[in-house]
Every structure is written in C-alpha cells, then in structure tokens.
Amino acid sequence: MESMNHGLGVDIAFLLLATLAVVTGWRVFRTDSMVRASFFLLVSFIAVGVIMILLAAEYLGVAMFFMMAVEMTVMALFMVMFMMNPAGLNPMNMVHQERIAIGAGVAGFLVLGAMALLATFPDQPVPASLDPVRSLGNEMLGDSMLIFESAGLVLLTTMIGVVVLSSHRGRYGAAAEGSMPPGLEPGGDPAGKPEEDEEGEGGHHHHHHHH
C-alpha cells in the first residue's frame, strides 16, 4: 500500500481518475438516457472510490463500490419508473432555471476552490503504522458508540418510513385496489401504470413517443 510518499504512478492515476470523475459527473446531466445517467453517476462514484483507496482509506473506497452499485441500480430502476423517456431514443430537455443553476454551480466551485487554494491546513498525514479499518472499528465501539447506535435506529426508522410510504399493498390487500388496473403478470405488460390518466391531466409538457 502506497503511503504519502507516493510516486509518479499514483499522480498519473489520480489525474486520470479525477478527469473521469468530473467528466462522468457532468455527463449525468447531459445525457438523454436516464439509465445511462445513473450509470455515469456510478462511474463517477467508483472513480472517487479508487482515489480513496489511493489515499490509504482502503475500506471506505471498496465500500463505496458496493454501496454505490446498489444505490445506482435502484436509481436506474426508479428512472425507468418515473421518467418520460428512460432510454434516450429521442432527445429531451428537462431543465429549468438553467442560468441560475449554472451560476450557482460555478460560484460554488469558485468559492470552494478558493478555499482549497488559499487556506492552509495542518500537514499531518496518516501514520504508516495505522490500520485504518481497525481504528475505525475501535472508534465505533468506543468513543462514537452513541453515533453508531443512533445511526442504527435512524436506519430502522428509515426502513419503516420507506415501507409506510411506498408499499401500496398493506396487510389487508392492495391500497389502490379498484382505482387502478391490476398487473397482468410479473415482468409482463406494464399494466397498471397510470399513463393514460397523466396525459389527460395535462400536467406534462413531454409526451412519450412510441416508435
């Protein structure tokens, strides 16, 4: 494992990974296909994870891979469920207040970048003898026990909240029974998707084109 006195190879790898992270991060908002967008975001996360591994935070970097792989898969599934045009077969633009957004983005980058360039931070690299995973584990069972436990409880609350909010099939049967057509078969025709209602409501400016 390279420590802080790293060589040229690490620098080159860092440059490539940084470019990859930024370019894919940018492509997320510039691609027509929503599924592609979520996988671009995944690549950006993976690049940052590899940089973390280069920084000797080996556990966090590798953990980033599995966390983000799962999260982005779920993201892609939700894209397919909610977006007009999940595939990018026809171009689309779902952007509002773009000028303000660009301005805010650039301003954010400039402020944070200036902080990075101008501020001086203490130079105390990780000691070579430190085992990052072990120290993290001891911290979680020692001083930060409370954080650890409350994180567990918060996650339980999240689970219950998620189930309450998203499950439409309570223990007494489907909540929306009678108001929506039931599904035909698992993985079959997308029956029960309320597309017709939506077109009638007139809330959308984007229509889904069938080829």
Binding site: S33, R36, F39, E58, A63, F65, F66, A69, V70, P186
Partner: protein
C-alpha cells in the same frame, strides 16, 4: 517486477481460461451422468463451440445501446477476473493480497448486478429487459445474505483479508465451525452466475433472457464470463469455508485446486438437479427464510469466535 506484476496477471488469465474450460467440461460430464445425452466428445465440445461462436455472424437489434451492449460481457469477465485475483493459492501465492479482499468480493457481487442489468437493458429487446429486471430483484436479495455469511467468517480471522481468513482455519475449517455458512453461500454463487435453480436472468422461459439477442463473439465472451464468475466464486468458497490451501501432504495450490473442483462439481450438480424457482417466490424466500438463517449463522460465528 516479474513476480510482482506479470505473475499475477498471467495467473489470473490462466485461471480464467482453464477454469472456464473446466466448467464447460464438468457441466457436460454432470449432464451425461444424469442421463442427458451430450453431442460430441466431452473434452472437445467446449472448444468447437467456442470456435463456432467466434466465427458466427453476430446478431443486432434495431437500436441497441451499442457501447453498453458490447461492454457488458467484457465488464462481467473483468469482474470475474478481479474476483479470481483476490483468491489466495498459498500463503504467498496471491495475485493481489488486498487488506479488504472480503469487502472487494462483496463489491464484485454488487457490481455484477449492475453489469447484468446493463446487459439486459442495452439490447432494447423485451425478453432481454425482463431478464435484467428479474435479475436485479434476485441480485439485490442475495447480496445481504452473502455479506452476513462473509462477515461471519471474518469474525474469527479478525481481518477482512482472505489470507488471514484461511490462516484462521488452521485448526478447524469454517465449513464445520459455521455449518450454515457454506450452504447459504452456495446459493449466493448460483444466484450470482444465474446458474441452475436461480437462473432468472437467462432462463429458457425468456428464450435466453438477457442473452436472447446476442450471438457470435459477444455470446462467447458472455458465456466465458459466466463460467469465469463461477470459477471465481468457487475459489472464494473454497478459501473461506474449506480452508483454502491448508491440507496435509500435498502442496497448497494443489489442495486449493482440488477444493475448487469439489465446489464447482457440487454447484453444477445442484444446477442440474434442483428445479428452477419461480422468480416471484425468490424474493420472499431470500428475505424471509434465507436472510434470517444468515443472521443465525452470524450469531453462531460470533459465539464461536468468542469461546
């Protein structure tokens, strides 16, 4: 330089090729032993099929996502390779002996879900897409089981490194110490490579699922990647449950190969013997039956590690 860079690379590629071939041959042997006649000679048939696929004309669909469609099989192969890279052959013969190799294998499982979904998605064909969606349901369910089982073996080793996990089995193998672990982990292996009973992604009721639209060279890469993943999985299973290179008389790598072959044969036999599960039952089974079993496995492992 040679021993640090080229040796690991050569080792992994050699294992991918030999392992993939071994999977094809073993599967045919198992099939003919169970009474399904096999065309051609068992030893030559995989080769001729490979050569045929290599020269076959490749199919295309109307508007696939070309880049993702071609990348997905290659990425799956690369994931199999990185799984094989962390498998130790002896205390010193490891392609890459990462400190967090157990977590890396967990990431390989998670990323495999992404790649298989991408493979089904990118073809722009209904049956392939359904295979992809089904696989995601399965993949997201087995990943937790696998993590619990692997954390269970990390407890006595006090490390997330495969070499340490093997070293901790010096006295007694984990397959005896944590009896629930190996069966649960084998299910994960079948799921990951969508083999046999858990073949939700490429099943015949979907006319081949995610692979229904590919032929020729892409199909060759996809089949090799699946076989390679099965080999990588059996390597990990032999490492964490069967004591890896440990064993009397023979040198470590030989023991390791024998154990891997044993795991492979069990997997292929299970794949041929067990009936295929209905996809909608899978999720309930994984979460309601197998996941609590993996909790029990973890508690068992924890008590065992403290005693």
């Amino acid at each position: 330089m040679f021993s640090e860079l080229f040796l690991p690379v050569l080792m992994v590629i050699f294992m991918l090729v030999i392992g993939g071939y071994a999977v094809a041959v073993l599967d045919r042997l198992v099939a003919s032993a169970l009474g399904t006649p096999q065309a051609g000679r068992v030893w030559l048939a995989p080769m001729s099929r490979g050569a045929w696929l290599l020269t076959q004309h490749a199919n295309a669909t109307e508007a696939p996502d070309w880049r993702a469609w071609r990348l997905a099989p290659a990425l799956y192969l690369a994931l199999a390779a990185s799984g094989l890279a962390v498998v130790p052959w002896s205390a010193s013969l490891v392609a890459t002996d990462l400190v967090t190799s157990v977590v890396l294998w967990g990431s390989v499982e998670a990323l495999a879900t992404v790649v298989i979904f991408l493979h089904g998605w990118s073809a722009n064909s209904l049956l392939a897409l359904i295979g992809g969606y089904r696989y995601v349901a399965l993949g997201l369910s087995y990943i937790l089981i696998s993590m619990f089982v692997l954390i269970g073996v990390a407890l006595p080793a006090e490390s997330l490194q495969f070499t340490q996990v093997v070293a901790s089995q010096e006295g007694l193998w984990n397959v005896i110490r944590q009896p629930l672990g190996l069966p649960l982990f084998l299910i994960v292996g079948l799921g990951m490579t969508f083999w046999g009973p858990l073949n939700l992604a490429d099943s015949t009721d979907l006319a081949g699922g995610t692979a229904s639209e590919i032929s020729g060279p892409p199909r060759l890469v996809w089949d090799m990647a699946r076989a390679g993943m099965l080999v990588a999985f059996s390597g990990v299973a032999a490492t964490v449950f069967l004591g890896g290179w440990l064993g009397p008389w023979l040198p470590g790598p030989v023991w390791m190969s024998l154990k891997m072959l044993a795991v492979l044969s069990v997997l292929l036999l299970l794949g041929r013997l067990l009936p295929r599960l209905a996809p909608e039952r899978c999720v309930t089974l994984m979460w309601v039956v197998l996941l609590p079993l993996s909790f029990i496995d973890l508690v068992w492992a924890g008590i065992g590690a403290l005693l």
